[in-house]
Symmetry: C2
Subunit: 217 residues, 2 copies
């Protein structure tokens, strides 16, 4: 197959352009049209079995962002960014959730839940045989697919981003009332535009050489 390479998105250069932004320009906001694209991209993230065991808490309220920054180990990004996405997993995954998911498949694809019997068996079997702790790990891993997708989507839209694991999860959950929503925070992505004084923007990216990190078989 011959691809039309000239029409391909220059993904490598988009990914080289991005970096973990340490200092956002707190006067700049992502415009609504661009944000809608990012939000839609995030929602399109694939997940195991399609179960999407997550919600995305998007914080733009400055007061709340400042509160969260205080629970982020002295990192300023949550306060200074334009949009802070708290990628959160569900606290539980049960037959009810599976049932609702099957109903949404049936509705979207104009079929019946009954016709999805084999799939239902697979999903409920997975939920039943997996411990709560393993389900939590599994849901958390799915959240990282969303993070990877969001970071790459932001890069191609030339929106700066910083993925963040360094925050007080309990503190975030409390400020955002996540437990009562059936959620637990997993990982953050701060988005906005780099401040011109952020010296990290000009740092050479450090990655394992392809020859070290890719094994061809």
């Amino acid at each position: 197959m011959v691809n039309n390479l000239s029409s391909q998105v220059d993904i490598v250069n988009h990914l080289k352009w991005r970096y973990a932004t340490k200092k956002f320009d707190n006067s700049r906001r992502i415009d609504q049209e661009t944000w809608s694209k990012l939000e839609e991209s995030l929602v399109l993230t694939p997940s195991s079995y399609g179960l999407q065991p997550w919600k995305f808490v998007v914080v733009t309220d400055q007061k709340v962002k400042t509160q969260l920054a205080e629970k982020s180990f002295q990192q300023p990004q949550p306060a200074d960014c334009s949009h802070l996405v708290v990628i959160s997993r569900l606290t539980s995954m049960d037959h009810d959730y599976v049932e609702k998911y099957l109903e949404s498949i049936a509705e979207t694809r104009s079929t019946t839940v009954e016709s999805l019997g084999a799939y239902k068996g697979m999903l409920t079997g997975f939920v039943d045989r997996t411990s709560q702790s393993d389900l939590e790990h599994w849901m958390s891993r799915q959240c990282y697919i969303a993070l990877g997708n969001l970071l790459t989507s932001a890069a191609v839209l030339k929106v700066d981003a910083c993925p963040m694991e360094g925050f007080d999860k309990k503190g975030y959950d409390e400020v955002l009332n996540l437990p009562e929503k059936g959620l637990a925070s997993v990982v953050l992505c701060a988005l906005g535009y780099r401040d011109s004084s952020d010296k990290y923007a000009s740092h050479e990216k450090v990655r394992h050489p392809v020859s070290d990190v890719v094994i061809h078989i």
Copy 2:
């Protein structure tokens, strides 16, 4: 800030185009130029602390792909795809690894390892206070950032992909001799081109509505 939206990559439509390909056209291969871009994109994946606790095993040998398909719960994608990426985590993370990483930072950024003392303290502190089990979970989660990035990068290059958790990890590790390389398989991504008979290509995508899955604060 006014973005030049007309020049933006149409990320949403790229992500709508993609789907978890069930049936690959086994006569079609990803050309070398496109594959190099995907591989470089994968290597550019960001990770916590920049530690990149992974290797990417790219399998194109048909005999090995067929062997792996036999350990994939009757799923044909590993055999029929063009490139099978076995995203693997390191089996351990220790001071030696941190030291080598710091050396690569120093070399890349023309500085000394000594000048990175504070960062070294942070990294070794993280490694020391984290149990082996938690390190494994953490490394696995990082691998899912790579998966998310790879899926989105493939979509914008119009390469089909299927993320796969359903495989016999021990079996894969054995076939690929991962333990002796200090690796453990985490998750797969089969890449190539959809077969025209794959009915899943035309299925309507099922996602939570934005209003359900995004919470604005």
